[in-house]
Assembly symmetry: D2
Homo-oligomer: 139 residues x 4
């Protein structure tokens, strides 16, 4: 990731449950992707859009690529913060970038790539309401 | 559970992934319910029925009650065995009972209760194909 | 559960992630036990005790029994509330009871039973600091 | 990934549990990393080494980077196959590459990167027993 995600962007805090740890005593690596998901849900909500309602209208954002770099372990009961930005905009897809920190320390960073698809999982163009959000972002 | 589940009943073996452990170095308690689910899927398959095809025909078996008693910890890489029986039959519901063992040692036992419902999650009578399976069981 | 858990008791709110849903479009049944775990962690914190620090001092609270009754489905993005009480106190064990609600509607209720054990997983008496908390509760 | 993973390499088959699906009716994206973990555990076992015993001797293989490209959805009850190779060898780290298929169709592919560390999570050189396995591989 080229740019550090600024605090001004969407952020959400998550309390790490015991369930997410493994026998190394830290968060199991796959679970960071669940934190990323919470990050992008809150990014959308911060922009006035609920992903839930997007699905109700027939638009889905499945994941086609995911990446995470682990910097330091998150542990049980840590209150981590997930910061999210939209880092790439295509005509039919989006890329989110994430930073997870705990008490100011960088824990993990990563990206996920999402096409916009309809109920039949066929690619569609970015919905207008999201297009507007993205324009405002750059405006 | 009054009766020990006999080896003759459906069984499935599962290799415990690292993902399922927690920082106590054993399987996190909620994950046993995933093993139970694998148990009942294989019970149905052993009887010639795929739960997947049941859903395709519009019948669902959500869970309305679940219980587990933990006897000894399962650990990473253990090859556990889940034995499953139908322990109660109602007109619109079923109860499964489970035993999880590892190298002959009892790890956990439990039950789950399931109504039969349609796509709108409304209760329905037990589908005929399952009724037949249950009669054979007792026949 | 005989008693409805009063709002005065410990409560924590949790945003349901997409990860917790299954193809029935609702929260997968095992995940409620993760919400229960968040409930008892927050019950302890509300009483001035961190479970994390309990473990650091060598006392663990594994689960030996768990039970859940599912009343209504929780769904993606629901903001659920977990209310927790201590419903039974033994000399070496505790039972927690939980209620999960969403917008005032009862979603699930259940219990978990926990022995106090040391690092070698041998039963020990309830630590004095927890004994005090429980006495205050009744005082 | 430059090279298709050959069937001669380690492979393991996994039955997709209901637990792993989400409300899109397919496997939730984070769960593929659990399948990858099963893949590398079996790669080691196929080479005569148990990761479990590696940890018992004080060597750990945490993940510092993970990546997955999703090609087609895996669904409930699918019997997927995970093929694993070691795709990069450093002096203190390893990279695994994975391919997940179902009935011959490519479902997902990805990589994970792992340093060798000791109990204090400090980097150490590749243990001799693994060094030998890797040399045999190239021999």
């Amino acid at each position: 990731m080229e740019n550090i995600i600024k605090p001004a962007e969407s952020e959400v805090s998550i309390r790490v449950p015991y369930a997410d740890t493994d026998q190394m005593g830290m968060v199991y690596y796959a679970n960071y992707f669940v934190y990323f998901e919470r990050g992008r849900t809150e990014w959308l909500r911060a922009k006035g859009l609920e992903y839930r309602s997007l699905e109700e209208k027939g638009t889905y954002l499945p994941v086609i690529e995911s990446y995470c770099k682990y910097r330091a372990p998150a542990r049980y009961d840590d209150l981590i913060i997930v910061r999210t930005i939209v880092s790439e905009i295509g005509s039919c897809s989006l890329q989110f970038s994430y930073e997870i920190t705990c008490l100011g320390k960088l824990i993990a960073e990563g990206t996920t790539k999402h096409p916009f698809v309809n109920r039949q999982m066929k690619p569609v163009r970015i919905p207008e309401e999201i297009q507007k959000i993205l324009e405002n972002k750059n405006g």
